[in-house]
Symmetry: C2
Subunit: 463 residues, 2 copies
Amino acid sequence: MTLEKVLARIDEDLPDATGRLLELLRIPSISTDPDYADACANAADWLVADLRSIGFDVHKRATPGHPMVVGHARDGKDGKNDGPHVVFYGHYDVQPVDPLDLWDKPPFEPAVEDTDAGRVIRGRGASDDKGQLMTFVEACRAWKAVNGSLPARLSVFFEGEEESGSPSLVPFMKENADELRADVALICDTGMFDADTPGIVTMLRGLVGEQLTITAASKDLHSGMFGGIAMNPIRVLARIIAALHDAQGRVTVPGFYDGVTELSDEIRAQWEALDFDADAFLGDVGLSKPAGEQDRLPLEMIWSRPTCEVNGIGGGYQGKGFKTVLPSHATAKISFRLVGQQDPLKIRESFRQMVRDMLPEDCEVEFQPHGASAASQMSTDNPLFEKAREALSDEWPNAAAYVGSGGSIPIAGHFRDILGTDALLIGFGRDDDQIHSPNEKYDMRSFHKGIRSWARVLARLED
Amino acid sequence: MTLEKVLARIDEDLPDATGRLLELLRIPSISTDPDYADACANAADWLVADLRSIGFDVHKRATPGHPMVVGHARDGKDGKNDGPHVVFYGHYDVQPVDPLDLWDKPPFEPAVEDTDAGRVIRGRGASDDKGQLMTFVEACRAWKAVNGSLPARLSVFFEGEEESGSPSLVPFMKENADELRADVALICDTGMFDADTPGIVTMLRGLVGEQLTITAASKDLHSGMFGGIAMNPIRVLARIIAALHDAQGRVTVPGFYDGVTELSDEIRAQWEALDFDADAFLGDVGLSKPAGEQDRLPLEMIWSRPTCEVNGIGGGYQGKGFKTVLPSHATAKISFRLVGQQDPLKIRESFRQMVRDMLPEDCEVEFQPHGASAASQMSTDNPLFEKAREALSDEWPNAAAYVGSGGSIPIAGHFRDILGTDALLIGFGRDDDQIHSPNEKYDMRSFHKGIRSWARVLARLED
């Protein structure tokens, strides 16, 4: 049987597949920092060359930002152009690497490591999203090697701005809607529920990113000479941040909870059955107490409730030692995770108005938006969802579950809203992958069984 | 008359004196940053060589930190060792220069500039304190050139850690008490009351510097995966900072106001007579409203009331773009300016306890002290105070005034407490010198008339 041969080929080819991933990981494609624009282009070129070598008609496509990579395997099954059209999405850009001194090895010198918890691939992007993206590419490679052709009308669609708000994504999808529209979109940028239980994400939080800079004096001042009489923008900023949550952990931005829906009894029962171990989840990162809304389940806090977090703050002197400066300005980066029908733009505007209302005399505020996307709720009516769930269940010890995800993957909503294409969010990341953090890794088991999982999903979609 | 000749010599020598100051300003002696330790040593060497060239018996004296420079003009007046012993104090270290991009020129490439407000010497340390320190050195040089000897038993005592909490100062003064004890200490590290009115500072605020780092998770987390369930240390820090002042601008640290004394009617009357222009003082830096305790005079806010300021804050992602990180820790640098009999160590401990009391579960705090000094109140009974006031009044358009100072110059208290020596705080800085800020400058008029002022003070001390 074809699938068995493909799986065997995947097992044999794992060392070479790992080598290819390490190559891609060596390219420092940090999309948010303009200094790495060339690296982003290099990562796109690398993918174009690799996909071309396995038969994709693939090109780097310019955008106002970093390029897209779009490829099509037009020969389809047995050289024919029939079967369902499947488009696979991933992103080749990665998060910044600071604080660099917390990495045990340079983030762009990836390596395979044996750890107590098994073999891992270490390096920035290993899990998010280069390793995940390559699970699909390697499944295609094996399929092609065994069968001489790919199993369906496959397209691949990789972006390079996912970690920086995807400014070019929506315009590109709109301009190329006919080309990208498919019967189903496969997205590999999420995680397993646990080591033995794959998840298909059907509920995704949205994201509003916002940067604010409070300015008081026109220049930095000496805190001896001006301290006590001049407005301190750090104090103003701290007061605003402190006011964003009430004592119960609820967000205080006016109208914030408009459009937030409660869990259905069915989903709540399913989640309770998952028996989520919040103590272990938090314990892994040195915490013990769920810090969100105090009247909510831990799984609600991370999957189905909206949040407001401060992702960065800076002002005044932060170097070694001490400096008695009274700074001119202070900045914070704040993000809101959205659920249900929360309106990203209304929330942005309400937040800005709340900040303006709290501003004392002599202070000014400047806002800088960093992306805005609503939450997504997948419809599982599409029969391909159930086929995929069965395929995953064949590969892993436990049956696959429909789950939520705290992270924002706006692409899923875009596929639905712009192209009318349902998205299957299947990923093999683990909670301890340290994505966006120092020492990011991807389990070799995730990589290996992830490739095998995609082969099984492709085979099922063929049925 | 000798003084007239000395003043004429000072006028003639001003271009060369300016050149010498520019040389000293080129040495980047940032004491708080260990990377600049060699530069601090170089600045000390430069001073030793310069003072030796005008007849001081002077040496660089090692400390656990940056070296002291101590010199003695043992020949005294007319080669005799009589007259009052006068010790002059200044500091050769400077503040850090960030944010570097706000400097119009590199901070350690000083230059003389003609501005709308007159000629200035621009560069880090021009006013604080290299320019001020050199006013005294140049006065000595001119005196020696005219008279062949210095006018009194003069000593100079320069430190290189003033901008980083002076950790070596007290031990050094204790170990060398007999050598440094004098009839009066002259300290040049303060400012004019206004362009035409020199000030002798008799009231100085103390300073407690404190750095705190709040740690929650054991590593940086992804705000999608962990946002809403994991404690965010930036939020905790913001809540603490927001709680440090009440709505009236009073500091809320328990016991903070213990030992704060009210102004005497006499001093209050004198300060009201100075007709301080708060609008202009604030307007110069783009502000309009005194931001301190709302029931206090502006001069009280900067001279005689205690304060709490945040001098720096940092946590999470601060680079370009956005990063959805939920950081492991966040840090702030906080300083307290003290007055009257406020106890620096009690305030430090009370602040720490307040922070600990506000810490939520799952958070830890680490404190790092950065200096602690009480406020100083000079006794003006010493007849040398009145002599100095007359000498200053001879040089400047307006009579000199006894004033307060918001900045902390702990050395004055040390002279009194360790050596029993009264300190005369005379300086020629201006409010717009931008000390501790980008584009620091020293007015050429301050430098020139400052040198002449010291010549007059030295002549008066001889009487």
